[in-house]
Symmetry: C2
Subunit: 362 residues, 2 copies
Amino acid sequence: MRNTPTRRPTMRDVADRAGVSFKTVSRVVNEEGSVSPDLVERVGAAIRDLGYRPDGRARHLRQGASTGAIGFILVDVANPFFSSILRGIEEVARGHDTLVLAGSTDGLTDRQDQLVDAFVSRRVDGLIVVPSGSSVGALKTELERGTPIVFLDLEPEELVVDLVRSDHLGGARMATQHLLDHGHSDIAFIGDDPTIFSAGCRLDGFLAAMDAAGIDVPPHRIITGRHSSDTWRTIVADHLGAPNPPTAIFTAQNFITVGATHALHDLGLHQRIAQVGFDDIELADIVEPAITVVPQQPRELGRRAAEQLFRRIGGERDEPIRDIVESPIIVRGSGEIRPPSGRSGSNAATGRTRAARARSRG
Amino acid sequence: MRNTPTRRPTMRDVADRAGVSFKTVSRVVNEEGSVSPDLVERVGAAIRDLGYRPDGRARHLRQGASTGAIGFILVDVANPFFSSILRGIEEVARGHDTLVLAGSTDGLTDRQDQLVDAFVSRRVDGLIVVPSGSSVGALKTELERGTPIVFLDLEPEELVVDLVRSDHLGGARMATQHLLDHGHSDIAFIGDDPTIFSAGCRLDGFLAAMDAAGIDVPPHRIITGRHSSDTWRTIVADHLGAPNPPTAIFTAQNFITVGATHALHDLGLHQRIAQVGFDDIELADIVEPAITVVPQQPRELGRRAAEQLFRRIGGERDEPIRDIVESPIIVRGSGEIRPPSGRSGSNAATGRTRAARARSRG
DNA sequence: GTGGATCTTGACAACGTTGTCAACCCCGCG
DNA sequence: CGCGGGGTTGACAACGTTGTCAAGATCCAC
């Protein structure tokens, strides 16, 4: 059953069997026409008999020929956010008869450089990259050489490049506004380390919405850092368990949302404190209350990045684009909890409106 | 900023610049030694100046050379089960300096054949395949030719091949036994269409455990089919809402577990009816009660499949293996709910022990 | 000084394909 | 009957690399 690998048949083998020159085989394989019907048939039979498959490497060896493969460098395929992006890329690539090579960096810059090297040495037609860290490393050389590269989610510093990402700022503003609209004014922001670009945008969006509503956010209501879901669970529980907790929380990343939801349940506050999350979570609708979120649309991100990449591969030389993908809020319940009536619309606990501050100043 | 793609420098370009023959460049690139130090330096400088990167396709063009790439054919990368497998494969591949090409079939046989073709024409060193349907199609030719192929999750009919999969039967038996151990005897099996191999195994495991406990399972307690999570929600709600519901359910697939959990919550029975699921679910621990499951270990499946594949690529010619991966049960709460005391240990509602049946017969 | 061994270097043929060009065949027309 | 033209076919050179082998250069020993 398990056969020892035999030498793969080549065009020459097919040609010998069909009694023609190997160039004729090439013509038949590529359906160039100009071959007499009986030869087409004889060659076709020989191809079937030998199980011949053309060698793509040799085919594309000539300078400038497409390899029909693109590379996707991401942080971790096991993370559904990235694997959904990959799926979107694949869908577009399929339409261009192109395969996708994917590699995870785990956020390590040198691993990213290794992947760039591996992809480039295979002469992929282009790259889609979710950068790990702000360093561009090996990517810069390739950009300068003219290799089509589209950046996803994060943009490298000091380089003007094609970029596709979610509207972190707008989404965060929308999430915050949603809580404001439901009567909250004392809202805690719980997010990732704001030196991470997307996390910084989300904090800015939160602050912008609060500012527009004339609400001053006290510093202790802004909680940021890099932690695991479990650590966030403790941190959020501590914050909510302290005196004068906020009436609502905006959890600006999926791990944080999970940790915070645990914390709310731990404290029995899940029906009392409102929550809106950034990033959708599988099963967010199974929890009680189901979690209101501003999702990202990873598959759409992947599709758009791939479309832009194929435009570049196709030879388009326009100015670099920035494609910012917006997402509508998904209302599920947790974000529509209203604050206790005594505090509704006021800033009793900690927040003060700018008007109030102005009064006390003046 | 965006440069027009320039011709990629080749060994000859490097050679011209360094004033040596291109063969010497080849020797420097491959660190063959036997090159005088000053030439090594001159060539190295030329390589850096030109940004030269060897062309992997040309390098591996010779018959028998490895391409340093393997193909992974799966159903859908966006499904975390498959993307975790991919991650496991990638981890092993990384250790072999190999890249992974992945393609989704969406369960379509012709898409699978297209992918096989695309991978083979790129001369991947081997394939890992989660077959779509039972048809082998284009895979058979490759197997006969000796291409290393490892099958994952599902094995093709009538072929003896390397196979890595979860222990569906053992896992289902364990899940059922867990419910039996907690005093249940009236347990409903809710699973995928049993003509799907893995689903059939799980049903067999359920029946085996029930049989070993001497319990006769009435036919209406076995609910199977191919449905979406939402449809399952309705189906399960109907079953549990009818008179004499079971005291426990075994939901034998992740979509079904999600649908059933919804149904339990819809009916307010989530604290009264026990549930054990097959396949782990993200956030299964956030629901109340958290869901007890027998997980699969997709990353481990991927790792083992890749390890076997690299053994084959390395030239191993032993008999095909079957690597059945077991998983321990994850106890979280939903599976430890005990039946109402009046029914504990009895078969009052629908099930009857074999002993009881024997008595009424004799 | 000469012979041989060793070390360095380069010329050239693979590898499997496609592009280019020339040769050939057959036909119809002058 | 000869000539031109279209349609087939094949020889050969790329493509960018590695493997093979031979040509020089260098060095040591006799």
